[in-house]
């Protein structure tokens, strides 16, 4: 049993689901099999499925009481009789959702599923419902943000992993020599200016040494390299 505190308005944004043997309602802030409503009784009607109550919280909602439970049907009948005399009745109801031919019904079928409450309880119910709703919505938003943050981190990690595993694109000796030649303003070119240095400084240094040994580069000053023309 998972009780969700609801208002009639919340139903408009909810989705009915059958989960195993449970009829549940998925709202923006949670899923429940037992839905709790509290409102002022506006009208009653005797139907072949049991008493039908319309409440206002302030939106209107109609519920059928006691289709499969004689105890709660009796309680509902007592309320119906009382309603003939007294119009100021507030009810707390525990209903189960049910969908037939794309129409959502609210059935009250548990013992003590319809209870007369004071106006103060009605007000306190809705204060509590608002607090819980706000908390659950915040929690859901935070969870979503966390998921999206985690996804971002995972994507970043994947990119960096891919970069590590991908074979490095090797710059040819000719390209290195050409870039030194193009960048040289007279004194030579430092290692840092050579493309590929930032990716792997050690490897680039070894490459430069190799090219120098092959006689195509020299080091006129420490750390500066020139092409042998």
């Amino acid at each position: 049993m998972n009780v969700l505190y609801m208002s009639a308005k919340d139903l408009a944004e909810s989705k009915y689901q059958r989960k195993g043997k449970w009829n549940t309602l998925e709202t923006k802030y949670g899923t429940g099999s037992t839905l709790s409503f509290c409102g002022k009784l506006k009208s009653t009607q005797e139907t072949r499925y049991g008493p039908r109550f319309t409440i206002e919280d302030p939106d209107r909602l109609t519920l059928t009481v006691g289709r499969f439970n004689e105890n709660v049907k009796e309680d509902a009948k007592e309320i119906m009789n009382k309603f003939k005399e007294k119009k100021d009745i507030h009810l707390l109801l525990y209903a189960n959702p049910y969908m037939k031919e794309k129409r959502l019904y609210m059935n009250v079928n548990q013992d003590n599923g319809v209870i007369e409450v004071s106006k103060e309880t009605y007000e306190r119910f809705h204060e509590l419902r608002e607090t819980v709703k706000e908390y659950l919505l915040n929690k859901k938003t935070q969870a979503k943000e966390k998921i999206s943050e985690d996804e971002k981190t995972q994507t970043k990690e994947k990119i960096s992993e891919d970069e590590k595993t991908q074979p490095k694109e090797k710059i040819s000796d000719d390209k290195i020599i050409e870039s030194i030649k193009n960048r040289d303003r007279g004194d030579g070119v430092s290692l840092k200016e050579i493309p590929g240095y930032l990716k792997d400084p050690d490897e680039m240094y070894e490459r430069i040494v190799d090219i120098m040994e092959s006689g195509r580069l020299y080091e006129p000053k420490p750390g500066l390299f020139k092409v042998i023309e």
């Binding site: 049993m1 009780v3 707390l92 013992d111 003590n112």
Partner: protein, 220 residues
């Protein structure tokens, strides 16, 4: 402040209430609720340690090497720190959450096993309002025990409590709490109508053990 039955614990806390003294089977017990601003527990001292007790409501205290009773591992006992001979308890002067801040409302779904909660919600089902313990057979029974005797009812309310985030089985921990919760005397225990308990919201202090809420206080 994570309590693990059988393990030592040190914490800085505030005393939330005037300590209560009780005598149980020739032993002296002192207990008071304390909180570190996030978690609330009972601070308990027996006999010699109880005699040394000099704490009062609102004190800020540092507890070093208190013990979470080993016997609480498999019982429904509340979260507890016991002062034993090796425990040091000293008053400290520091900026610390006030009693009101320590006693903030929380949601049931945030509470772990062996933790206290102040929650607000409705009783959504009532299973029973009285329990029967047959002294002859030394076990809980129906209104009439198998042995044919009729044990006196114990005023104990059991059912389901929901705060909108979680719905849990609950029980009242004492007849006094059952009376507070129901506005009925013990003598009415068997005659309370469930709707009388379900027609209002409650703000309660309780703790959770094995997915069950034990209601210890009714605040409003």
């Amino acid at each position: 402040m994570k309590l693990v039955p059988g393990e030592k614990i040190s914490a800085i806390t505030r005393v939330l209430e005037e300590p209560e003294k009780a005598e149980i089977d020739d032993r002296v017990l002192i207990v008071a609720k304390i909180s570190n601003g996030e978690k609330t527990v009972n601070l308990v001292a027996w006999d010699t340690e109880a005699a040394k007790w000099n704490l009062k409501k609102n004190d800020i205290i540092e507890i070093i090497d208190g013990v979470c009773p080993k016997t609480h591992k498999k019982t429904h006992q509340p979260p507890t720190i016991e002062i034993i001979a090796d425990t040091t308890v000293k008053k400290v002067d520091m900026v610390f959450p006030s009693i009101n801040e320590c006693m903030r409302k929380n949601f049931l779904e945030n509470i772990l096993d062996y933790e206290y909660v102040i929650a607000e919600g409705f009783i959504v089902q009532v299973h029973s309002t009285a329990a029967y313990f047959c002294n002859k057979c030394n076990k809980f029974s129906d209104r009439m025990c198998e042995c044919g005797s009729f044990p006196k009812p114990i005023f104990k309310i059991e059912g389901m409590f929901s705060d909108g985030t979680q719905t849990l089985e609950f029980t009242t921990v004492s007849e006094r709490i059952a009376e507070y919760l129901s506005y009925h005397k013990k003598t009415d225990a068997s005659n309370i109508k469930p709707y009388e308990l379900m027609n209002k919201a409650y703000k309660i202090i309780g703790y959770i053990r094995n997915q069950k809420l034990y209601i210890e206080e009714v605040l409003a």
